[in-house]
């Protein structure tokens, strides 16, 4: 009885937050699902149920190509970001003893500043007349500007790896910090060298952090359209740019809604499979 009244009081206190968040997410998603089954007629919708838009997602090669490219770019970006961030998180977890907090704040500070401005900064750096090209030309190392720097999938991957760094560092750092140091000492006492100790103890124990980091980067970057729009060029355009266009100049909202749904479902399936596979793999190691 006591427990029940405690739960009721807890939920009463939580209700404003929960109601706002539930309404704020469920209502838009419900209506988006509905719209994805409709048809656009000029500036209005034909609300007869149809699977036509989903048929388009599958049949029209452009959508599949964009989807695959989005997955490839954000997959590459996720791998690069996690690989670059791991040693950094490792350094702060194991080798920083004083002013740890300052290091953590330093690593996460850029993440809080304007996303748009950070992407814009990369446009300035990678541009045809940008920092790298004008700098290399000034040093006499190149005659012509390097064209592959801007407006390519590579530019998108570099920019995203910079923009999402904090999402990789923090979870990995937390999982490394949690590792019981005596386990590492035990491994050493039992004759493991640094490499074997890392592969046998540290890496498997930091796996939850790696998994969290991977998902926290992969899921949002699949849906990014600012970075491809600013530094991607035609070959770096992703699915989200097309979704944005469907709600803008193309003005086919049902198509946009169906693409958004297709993207969400794809990402959800990949995430679930990924979690399942890594759990299985981790279970075999430990």
């Amino acid at each position: 009885m006591f427990l029940r009244s405690e739960a009721i009081r807890g939920y009463t206190l939580l209700s404003p937050t929960l109601v706002v968040m539930m309404f704020g997410m469920c209502a838009p998603f419900a209506i988006m699902v509905a719209v994805s089954f409709w048809t656009q007629h000029a500036f209005d919708f034909d609300t007869t149920f149809t699977l036509g838009r989903y048929q388009d997602v599958i049949d029209k090669p452009i959508y599949m190509a964009l989807m695959l490219r989005s997955l490839a770019i954000s997959g590459a970006c996720t791998v690069v970001t996690v690989l670059l961030a791991y040693p950094m998180a490792y350094y702060v977890a194991f080798h920083v003893h004083r002013h740890k907090l300052i290091w953590i704040i330093l690593m996460t500070l850029p993440f809080w500043t304007s996303y748009l401005l950070r992407v814009f900064a990369w446009k300035v750096i990678l541009g045809f007349n940008g920092v790298i090209n004008s700098g290399l030309k000034g040093l006499g190392l190149i005659e012509q500007p390097l064209e592959f720097l801007l407006y390519s999938p590579t530019a998108v991957v570099i920019t995203l790896a910079h923009a999402w760094a904090a999402f990789a560092i923090l979870p990995i750092y937390v999982s490394l910090e949690k590792i019981d140091r005596s386990l590492l000492e035990a491994a050493t006492d039992l004759g493991d060298g640094p490499v074997k100790r890392f592969l046998g103890v540290t890496l498997p124990l930091s796996l939850p952090g790696i998994i969290a980091a991977t998902l926290l980067i992969f899921i949002p970057t699949v849906g990014d359209y600012v970075t491809p729009a600013l530094v991607g060029g035609p070959s770096g355009i992703m699915l989200a740019n097309n979704i944005q266009a469907q709600f803008g100049k193309v003005n086919d909202w049902p198509m946009g809604a169906a693409l958004a749904m297709a993207m969400m479902i794809t990402v959800a399936v990949i995430s679930v499979v990924y979690i399942w596979v890594t759990r299985k793999a981790a279970g075999r190691i430990v």
Binding site: G10, V20, L84, Y91, P110, R181
Partner: protein, 272 residues
């Protein structure tokens, strides 16, 4: 200082790597202030000379100030409402044993991992189907949704960090729930509340994707900047504006992180 285990002894290559990584994080952003003082339209080397004219031009721009005012309004409102919702949520999940707490917290935290464009277009569809005009209010609504998870994440450690018995003592001494909250709970969690307010303000102030879909004719500052990016000749002004925004964001977030640091209460108590 405690004895450093041999596993944690210094490792020079790793130290160099860490410094390089910090450079990778900061140098790109620092090019904005650098070129904003450069006396040339294009952001390129070699630097041409020092000038503050881009700042003067930027400050003379009426639409920029209109957008700035809009962003401050939206940010202040978002931060207030998200922090209040965060306080309710954080107190509930840290103080009460509730069945089904984990899935509920998961739902509240969901906007963290939903791609911004999906939440943005979904809200756009809802708002237009309901016949509501796009305005700064709709932007605020979107910003509250993405800010609440950050408010909760900032506030929960704060509520966990202080002694529940203080609230109980207050109740035993006859204070009602309301005055216990104002006189005991709020002062104890205040650094966290302030941190949450500053973080939510910064998130809203810098947010672009939701605002892109939900703003009507009144642009917020990031939308204004997006519009300016199409004109190469306006680039130096954008650099100047960007440098100012970065400076303000850095200061606000640094204060917030410092306020929210683990052990902030303890260090206050233990001060001699």
């Amino acid at each position: 200082m405690r004895e450093v285990s041999y596993i944690e002894r210094s490792n020079r290559p790793l130290h160099v790597y860490a410094l390089m990584y910090l450079a990778f994080l900061y140098i790109p952003v620092l090019f904005l202030p650098l070129f904003s003082f450069n006396d040339a339209v294009y952001a390129a080397f070699p630097l041409k000379g020092f000038t503050t004219k881009w700042y003067e031009q930027m400050l003379a721009s009426e639409p920029m100030f209109a957008a700035l005012t809009n962003s401050i309004k939206v940010g202040a409102t978002t931060a207030l409402l998200a922090t209040v919702l965060g306080i309710f949520g954080a107190k509930a999940v840290t103080r009460y044993r509730m069945p089904g707490k984990q899935p509920v917290v998961f739902v509240i935290m969901l906007p963290l991992v939903i791609p911004g464009i999906i939440l943005g277009v979904a809200l756009l569809i809802l708002v237009t189907r309901l016949g509501i005009n796009l305005s700064l209010y709709t932007v605020t609504l979107g910003h509250i949704l993405i800010s609440v998870p950050f408010a909760m994440a900032t506030l929960i450690p704060r509520f966990e960090g202080f002694d529940k018995s203080m609230e109980e003592a207050s109740a035993d001494l006859g204070a009602n729930a309301w005055s216990t909250f104002w006189r005991v709970t709020l002062p104890m969690v205040f650094p966290g509340v302030l941190a949450s307010y500053l973080l939510c303000f910064t998130i809203s102030f810098d947010e672009f994707i939701m605002a892109f879909f939900l703003a009507g004719t009144d642009p917020t500052l990031p939308i204004f900047i997006w519009g300016q990016l199409r004109f190469p000749l306006l680039l130096p002004r954008v650099l100047a504006l960007g440098a100012c925004i970065l400076a303000v964001s850095f200061v606000l977030v640094f204060i917030a992180q410092w306020l929210a640091r683990p052990g902030a209460i303890r260090s206050l108590d233990s001060r001699p």
